[in-house]
Structures are given as C-alpha cells and as structure tokens.
Point group: C2
Chain length 435, copies 2
C-alpha cells in the first residue's frame, strides 16, 4: 500500500477500504505522509465523495488516532447531545442538568466558539472559576458524583481531527458532509457514550443554510453513529433567528439560569426540553420522546434541574454565588439601548450578522487566538412574526470597547427586515429523524 | 484574490481566468503559496479539468515564470520538433541536421531519459566531449553559425514546470492532458520558435497507450501552440515496437549516423524524413509536407545532412572523430547474442519491456540521480510481421554489468510474441493533424 496509489484510487472515483483510509490517516497523523499528499487526498475525496461505509472508516481511523474514554465502570446510560451550532444556542447549559437530574449520565465534551457561533466552553468559563480543562480521572469522578460533566476536548482525543481540520481549512475542503461527519463523530465517539441526540441547525445563522443540506448531514451523522452501535435521534431545527434572546457568554448563562429556574418559556425552553426529552428516551428513562419531554419539564418546574446545574458548576470549581445571584455579575463599561427607527412585522433576521456583531462587541473570536470578553454581547428582542413599532426597544448591547458601539448599533438595526403585512413564524423543530 | 477562493472555484467546476491561474502558479513558484495548497489545486484541476483557454493560461503563466529566449536577432524561421518519447526514438538526431541543412533554424532544447524512454541529451552526451549545457550566448552563436543547436533545459527556462512536476509526481496528478500540455509547451515556447512539429506516440512503448488519448494530447498541444501564434502540425505515430533497431545512447547515435550517411532506409528513416519534411514546410522552404520530405531525402543522399551533424557536434565540442569513425567507440565489457528459441511471425513486441531492459543494462535511469552507461543497450532486430526461425539472431545486448545479462536475455526473449499465421504490420504514421 502506498499513498500515491490510494490518492489515485480516490481520484478516479474508487471506493476505499478501511485499511486504505487508515493508512492515509494514521501515517498523516504520525507525520509520515506529508501535508501536500494528504491535501491532494482530501481534495480527491471532497470531489469524488465518500460513501456511508467510507465515512465510517474515516471516523473510525480518526477516533483510533487518540484515546477512547472507557466509562464502563460508571453505571447507567451515557447520553450526549451535539449541535452544529448557531447564534444564541445555549441548549447544552439547560439540557445537561435536566437530563442528569433524570438519572442519565451526560459526559459532555464541547468546543469553543469560532466566527459567528458561540461555544459551550466559553459560556461555562464565563462563570468565575469554572474549569473545563479537567483531566480524565477528574472527568470521571465529576460524572460519577453528579451524573454530568462538561469539559473541552483534550489533546488525547482524536488528534487526527485537529491536524486534518487545520489542513482542510487552508485547502478549500471544509464543506464536505463526510469530513464534517468524521470530525464530529470521531470526537463524540471518544466520549464512550451509548447514545447521541443530534441538533442539526438550518437557516441564515447556521453552517447549513439549506434544509436539504442539514438533512443530509443529519443522516450522515446518524448513520455513522449507528455503524458504531450507538442509539441516535436527529432533529433539524431552525436557525433563521437567534435562539432565545441573549447572545454572548455570560448573557447566555444568565438566560439559561432563568430557563432552569422556570422563569422563561420561550423557543430556547421549547428546544431544550425537546432535546432533553429525546436524551431521556435514549437513556431508557421514558417510553418515548414526548414522555421524556414531560419529565424534562417537570425537572425544571420542581427545581431539580437548576439544583443540578449548581451542583455541576460547584464540582467544576465554578463560583456558584453568581449562579444564585446572577445580577451581581460584573457589568460591561458600555450599555447601549437600540430602538427601532421603523414600524412593521419582523419578516427576517440576518442571524449571521447578529452573531458577527456579538463577535465585534467582544463576545467571540475570528481567530482561534482571539481573547473573549465574557460580559460582552447582545440582548435581542425581535422574533420573526413580531409586530414592532417605531421607537420600540429592540436590543441592548454590552461592550468594553467604545469604538464599536456605533457600528454594532447600525449592524443590529440593519439585520432586521420589517414588512407591512403579517409574516409567518418559522417552525422551530423542522424534522425529526430516527435511525 | 486568494488561494483558497481559487481552489474552491476550481473544486466546484468553475472556469479560471488568466489572473487566477497566474496567481496560483507565480505565488507557488515564489514560495508564497505552500505545496499543500498547490497540491489541492492540482487535484481539483485534475478532476474538474482545464479547458482550452485555461490550458493556455497555465502554459503562459509557467512560461512567464522564467526566461523567454529572444531569437529575433537571428534571421530565418525557427522550427522545432517535440516527441512524447518512446523506445529507440532518435529522430531528433537525424531531423535536426536535415532541417538545418535546408536553411531553417532549429533551436532545440531537449530532456533526459527517465524510465523506459531515452532522452536526446543523454544520446548527444554519449559523443565524447559533446556539451549540452551551453549558456544563452553560446546557444545563440551556435544556432547562428550552423542553423541548429541542441541543449538541455536551463534553470532559467520555465522554473515553475520543475516545481509543479515534482509535486504532481507525488500527488497522483501526473496523467492530465492539460498539465502535460502546459509542461511541454511552456518549455518549447521559451525557445523563441516560430513553429513546432509534434510527434505524439501511441502504443505499448508510449506514455499514451491508446490512440484516442494520443489524439487528445496532440490536439491540446496544437491548440496551445496556436494560442501563442505558432505554426504547428501534429503526427500520431506508432510506438508498438522500437523505432529503428538500436536502443541505448551511443547505439542510437550510431544508428543515426548510418541513417544520415544514407546507409539505412528503415522506419526510423521514414519517420525522420516525414517530420523533417513537416518542419521544412512550416519553415517556409517547401509548398507542402511531401515536398519538404523530398528535400529532406535529398539532403541525406547528397551528404549535406551528415555534414551538418558533424558541424553541430564540432561547435558543441563533440569529438567528431567518433562520428566519422563510429567503429572506434569503446565497447561494453559484455556482449551477448540472443537467438530465438521458437519460430513464427512477430505478432507483438512488449516495447515497454524492451525499454526497461535497456535501463537494466545501464542505458537509462529509474531515478533522476541514476548514472548512465553510454555504451550499454540493445540491438533489436525483430519487427512486427517479420518471420523468425528458431535459432535466428534476434538481438545483441551490451553491458558492463555481468549480473544482469541472464535476466536481460530472458526479458528480451519474453517480450516477443510469435504467431503461426502472418500478422499485419502496424502503420507507422497513424494520423496527421493540422491546426
């Protein structure tokens, strides 16, 4: 077996075996296959495609490039959720304590924000003291104690993914369903889970703008999870407007606290309880998703989910006083109220632009090295279909950077499209796919 | 403009502009675009293809990466020939003096042998003292003095080609008609020629096994030459058997001397005079190819072509005594006669194998760094359609390496396929394409 032969085979549309894919991945990861050969391979695979089994082979090879966490000593079903990311998407902060409170283990490994979307790790770290860099033994002990744990990817998990992603990023081979599938699943499967709920977002604030692409990705992710004998359910959900109203790291923790305290019943509440319901069902604690959702709602209303959130935070060294009294959190230097200069029904929201505006305010990153301001962000009130009058408060922005206030204000105003006639509200959960 | 955008455009089947192709080539050549990006670009262009104008753009960009020789101070038409290479193909040694003797300038820049095919430079250098590494001013002065010059590619000519070829070689992107076209034409156009005769070979001893591929390449080469306002004629010629009977560097000079001295009238003579005829026609010294061919035949029979060959050799520091008395050339340590062990009509000759056997004997290279033995090689007598009796002398081999004699003998015997019934002789010149 040699690299050129394998590249040529894929170049000509051939189907690769596990041995061939693993030869490429493992030798690239160990530095034997140079990046110029691997990038030619990536481009050939990008254009010619990888079928269902080749995608599983790639996932398996990337998974095996690193450590696969063994959770067999910890009792109970281990269920996680993966979202493809969006603006204001903070469901992980809510569903993790909910599902843990239902007696299911949630061993969640998350990522950081990049570009217009936020990341769970950045949000958690806005809680003073909260540590997401636990080692494996601490990871297991927290999971055992409180049924959930939320950390970042360690360097031992799927190291091939990091190397391959860095090369895809500079060779125009990012937007490939098989590559995205292998990247996501190699990391999720390393967690040692039994089941996975997928939240694949579609719309102007999602990576998958078109619903058909989102469905294709969901099917590919689900098929791959199935190939590794994992239980899996996928949802296609709307990302044509921010989820909830708060965008920015601490702001999103803040909103999550209010959902967990049963004070808010919005789209975020709806989606979080649905996903939690599916996790509870996969974990064997309900007969179906609907019953699981009822359990989730009950665990929020009886305070157990919120209690679980403080418990997880405490075990991960978070300063719980901020969770119990969120209003005492440090404030941004600048707060600006934005009022509508027009009247009408909200027809569309440029959600990508809202996300990029929050980055501008300090809440996100354009490059991996960029620093984040946990206080910065946007409270954004409009929802599609809502009637707005001229002068209405439509948003509040928070930043320590005076220079960006005017631009951010204009950007938010321009991201809202108003119409004279009533507009239809997009469906939050567009599709459910079972495997 | 940035590399990722251009790679993405070609990846998605887009058509690139000159600016885009030149951005990639010039920045790769200068080291700004890293090899891993350029190899992704190569694979995308390999699979998606480059059309006629994109192929010209690539050629132009590669051409402009280096020096374009200005021959405007030298009077007369400058015409060259390019062959895609084969076994025993020594037409350059014959047609260059023929065409120069006809009063046309032949500013030939050639390559070395690699794999089963030989290279004109290696053949010329088998003449003791013959220098192919002339600098530009010497190149022009030889051309001016004797109407012809034969040198190797300098590092100033199309440096992009060398870099790109090295990357293609290790990324399974060699066998692409547009890339092959740009590689050949960027070097040929740098010679400052007015016209070009193409000899695209097809058959078991050629790079293009199938005639349809050879035609496709010839059309691509011809179209590109046309795009640069060059006169061009292409021939598709047979390479299902060695051309002439001598294979190996000095052996091929030896056979050429005998053709130039009007002593041999074989397939080599036939093809050389046809190609020379086309060059004479393109150079404006005849009304058509046929008349040009008659001039070529006349220049051989009246001794002027042979005289020109000694003149070129002398001006390039070759020891002419070996050309005048070729029998005094040093002999290989070992000479083995090979006799047929069967009778029959020659049905097929594994020409690739004959070429590789000559490499084994010392006449060629597997790697660029390999040394060549100028004396080594094969005199190979069978031709397709010929009747052979058991015991007939079919070949003589020459080598200084005792260890390879037995293997080479077997290899040559096994390369000949005999049939009981008469077999048809393949047409030497299969097709002529004018542009």
């Amino acid at each position: 077996m040699n690299a050129i032969e394998i590249i040529r085979k894929k170049r000509d549309g051939g189907k690769l075996s596990y041995q061939e894919i693993d030869f490429m991945v493992s030798n690239f990861t160990s530095g034997i296959i140079p990046d110029y050969q691997f990038s030619a391979f990536l481009m050939a695979a990008f254009i010619r495609g990888l079928d269902k089994s080749e995608t599983s082979f790639l996932t398996e090879s990337m998974l095996k490039s690193g450590e696969i966490i063994d959770l067999s000593t910890i009792e109970g079903s281990k269920i996680d959720k993966h979202s493809t990311g969006g603006v204001g998407d903070k469901t992980s902060l809510i569903l993790t304590p909910v599902v843990a409170a239902a007696g299911i283990k949630v061993p969640m490994i998350s990522g950081r924000g990049l570009g217009h979307t936020g990341g769970t790790l950045d949000k958690l770290e806005s809680i003073p003291g909260f540590r997401t860099d636990l080692n494996l033994s601490k990871y297991k002990s927290v999971l055992k104690k409180c049924s959930a744990v939320m950390i970042g990817q360690t360097k031992d998990i799927a190291p091939a993914d990091k190397l391959i992603y860095a090369l895809r990023d500079v060779t125009a081979t990012v937007e490939s369903i098989p590559f995205i599938t292998a990247s996501i699943m190699s990391k999720k499967l390393a967690e040692g889970i039994d089941g996975l709920v997928l939240d694949v977002k579609t719309g102007c604030g999602a990576f998958m703008k078109k619903q058909s692409d989102a469905v294709e990705l969901a099917v590919s992710l689900g098929n791959t999870a199935k190939a590794f004998d994992k239980k899996v359910i996928a949802f296609i959900t709307d990302m044509n407007q921010p989820l909830g109203n708060y965008i920015g790291n601490w702001l999103e923790v803040y909103e999550s606290i209010f959902v967990l305290r049963n004070k808010v019943k919005n789209d975020l509440y709806e989606l979080s309880t649905t996903l939690a319901g599916a996790m509870i069902y996969l974990g064997g604690k309900s007969k179906n998703i609907e019953e699981g959702k009822k359990i989730a709602i009950e665990l929020i209303s009886n305070g157990k989910a919120f209690e679980k959130f403080t418990e997880i935070s405490e075990l991960q060294d978070g300063d719980v006083s901020f969770i119990l009294k969120p209003e005492k959190y440090p404030k941004s230097k600048y707060r600006r109220e934005i009022h509508s200069s027009k009247s009408g029904y909200v027809q569309a929201i440029d959600t990508y632009r809202i996300g990029m505006t929050s980055v501008m305010l300090g809440a996100g990153r354009l490059k991996k090295e960029d620093k984040i301001d946990p206080k910065a962000g946007i409270i954004f009130y409009p929802k599609i279909g809502m009637k707005i009058k001229k002068g209405d408060l439509i948003a509040e922005i928070f930043t320590d950077n005076k220079d960006v206030i005017e631009t951010a204000t204009d950007s938010i105003k321009n991201s809202i499209e108003l119409s004279r006639s009533k507009t239809s509200v997009p469906k939050l959960i567009k599709k459910k796919i079972e495997f």
